[in-house]
Every structure is written in C-alpha cells, then in structure tokens.
C-alpha cells in the first residue's frame, strides 16, 4: 500500500488534487482541473479517467491541492503591476526563427 491511504467516511470528501496534463511530447504540463481521491495512486488513475479519456495527454501529474502555495489576490498590485512599464524585459528586439515553436 502506498503511504497516506486512508478511507474517508461517506460524509467526508477525500482530499483534493490538482491535475496537470502534458498534451504531447515536447510541451509542458498544463493545469487541467482538480479531483478528489483518497491517495496519490488513485488520484492518478482518476485523472486518467476524468481528464484523458479523449486522448488529451501523454503524461499526468497530480499534486495535493493543499500543498500548492498560491499568490494572494490582495498582493496583485505589488506582485504584478511593477512589471507593466518595463518593456526592456521583453525579448522583443530579437528576430525569432520560424523553426522555433512554442515560444
């Protein structure tokens, strides 16, 4: 048995997991949604059933939602606004070869 398996009571939902799917080789994993599962193994299997049943992916990550540290909407101004007027941070002065994809 994997660690952390515990069977929840019917009234208590199992832990929440965030699901990331790589749609094809070479691309990165993208967040596709979340689901409930009692442990990591079951979360992976549930993700397979819920999010890849139409061949959406070649790889899945599941992460306990409780372990995700998120920025707060209250900090939006201090976090993101200062970047708005710093145009020199954007690589707009390069010519990107047509062969480079996903940039």
């Amino acid at each position: 048995m994997s660690a952390g398996s515990s069977v929840a009571s019917p009234t208590e939902p199992t832990p929440l997991w965030e699901v990331f799917v790589r749609s094809k080789r070479g691309l990165s994993h993208n967040h596709v949604g979340s689901l409930h599962a009692p442990d990591a193994d079951m979360a992976l299997r549930n993700a397979r059933d819920v999010y890849t049943r139409r061949q959406e992916g070649v790889s899945i990550w599941v992460v306990p939602a409780a372990d995700i540290v998120a920025s707060s909407p209250d900090e939006k101004d201090s976090f993101f606004d200062p970047a708005a007027d710093k145009v020199y941070r954007h690589p707009t002065f390069y010519d990107i070869p047509a062969e480079v994809q996903h940039l």
Binding site: M1, S5, S6, V7, P10, P13, T14, L35, H36, A37, P38, D39, D41, M42, R45, N46, R48, D49, V50, R53
Partner: protein, 257 residues
C-alpha cells in the same frame, strides 16, 4: 506441426457471441452505476470500464452475426434475443450490490478476461485476434482499477474490510464457471481459435491470492459452483437486467438519437 482443423462457422460465431455477451452484460451492469458512484471520479471510472466493454461487445457481436450468416446485426443480437439465447457467464450478470460487490466481480472477471485476451492475441481467427489486440490494454486497466480498490477496501477500515470480504464471498461461487470448458471450447482450442480456459486457472489463482493477501482478505471457501450461462441458463436477476436493456429498442424498434 500438422495443419489445424478449420472450425465451422457456427462454432466460431457461437464463441464470438459468448465473449460478446460477457462484455455486453457486464457493460450494462456497470452502466447502472451512472450517477450513483461513491463520488464523481468513480462514477466516471466505472462507466469508462463499461464503455470499454461495450466496445468489445459491439465488435464481437457484429462479427458473430457476420459469421453466422443470417443477417443479424449487433443490435439484433443485443436487443432482440431472449434470455435463454444469451450465453454470458453467470458472474457478469450478478447484481451490483454495494461498491465492494462490484469491485469483487470486476476483480474476478477482469483477471480472467485479461488472461483470455492475452491468449487470444495469437488466435487463428484474425478478427478475434484483432479485438484482443485492442482489448488487452483496456482490460489491463480494468484489472488494475479493481486491484487498487480491493487493496484499499480490504486494508481500510473495519467496515470497508467487512464489505469487501462480503463482496468476494458473494461472487466466489461464480468463479468456477469461467474455467469450465465445454465441447465447443475443446474443438476451437484444437483449431487454434480459442483459449483453453482450464489452463488459465492456476495463474488466476496465484494472482488473486496475491492481491487478497496484500489486502489482508481471505480467499473464500469453495462451496457450490453453479454453471449454465454458456447454455443460456441464467440466474434470476438476469431477466430484470435484460428487460431494462432491451425495453427501449423493443418499444421503439430502430430508435436512434
């Protein structure tokens, strides 16, 4: 190696129909979990498994109808046959019961069916071998799903353990039929079309024993071992399943959406 005898069309059709009926009836049972799963994720998992089986059933029944040569389609075979004409195993028609009963049924059946499809990959019948090629990957997942839940329920709480053991005990009598070969099997095994089901029993036993040991569950005692599904002799619950499955098509022949 001497040339294998070529089986007659009726035998091949009957064999395909048996395997198709197993898949169709279990698909119907699993579909009854729609919107009734323990949670949304499991709802989707069980019905996905049902849809896999329905896909297998469609291929097999279509083929059975073609080989039979009486012009019967997959729909004719699924919706217009009577109870006694269905040749599925008794195990797959058993009631869903609680979730643990359903998992026990799936564990027993998928472990058997995976070994069957693996054997049929090299069937002399090209269509059956092709269906096997697709089904092997599907059923590998079905078995894994059932194993995962058996472990968690068996090695979970006292209540989940009690229910899982009760599910195993309830489904156990119908295990023996999966490995009972009849004269049709013998002919088709000789022709290289079918798998010798009796030979699948030892590996099935050792796999199931391993899972049950890890799940801290007991192997049920052998008691009575009813058979008859392959001859159309079904358990009482099957008539209700069939009525639900067939009534729409029979009330509105050719209905589509």
């Amino acid at each position: 190696m001497s040339a294998a005898p070529v089986p007659d069309a009726t035998s091949v059709s009957t064999y395909a129909m048996r395997l198709g009926d197993d898949a169709l009836v279990l698909a119907q049972r699993l579909s009854q979990w729609s919107s009734r799963g323990p949670d949304l994720e499991e709802d989707i998992a069980l019905t996905n498994i049902g849809l896999d089986l329905l896909g297998q059933a469609r291929s097999l029944l279509t083929y059975a109808g073609e080989v039979e040569g009486r012009g019967r389609t997959e729909d004719d075979l699924a919706y217009l046959r009577e109870e006694r004409d269905f040749t599925n195993l008794l195990l797959v028609e058993q009631d869903n019961g609680d979730f643990a009963h359903t998992i026990a049924r799936q564990l027993f059946f998928s472990t058997w069916q995976l070994a069957l499809w693996e054997g049929l990959l090299s069937s002399a019948d090209e269509t059956i071998a092709a269906v096997a090629g697709k089904a092997v990957k599907e059923v590998d997942y079905h078995r894994d799903h059932a194993v995962q839940w058996t472990l968690r329920l068996g090695d979970g709480t006292p209540e989940s353990r009690r229910r899982m053991q009760a599910g195993l005990d309830a489904m156990w009598p119908y295990v023996a039929e999966m490995f009972a070969a009849d004269p049709l099997d013998v002919v088709l095994v000789e022709a290289g079309v079918a798998v010798d089901v009796a030979a699948l029993r030892p590996p099935w036993d050792s796999f199931i024993d391993g899972v049950l040991a890890e799940a801290t569950l007991s192997r049920p005692d052998d008691t009575w071992t009813p058979t008859g599904g392959r001859r159309g002799m079904h358990t009482e619950t099957f008539g209700y399943l069939l009525a639900e499955m067939q009534h729409l098509h029979r009330s509105h022949p050719g209905a589509t959406w």
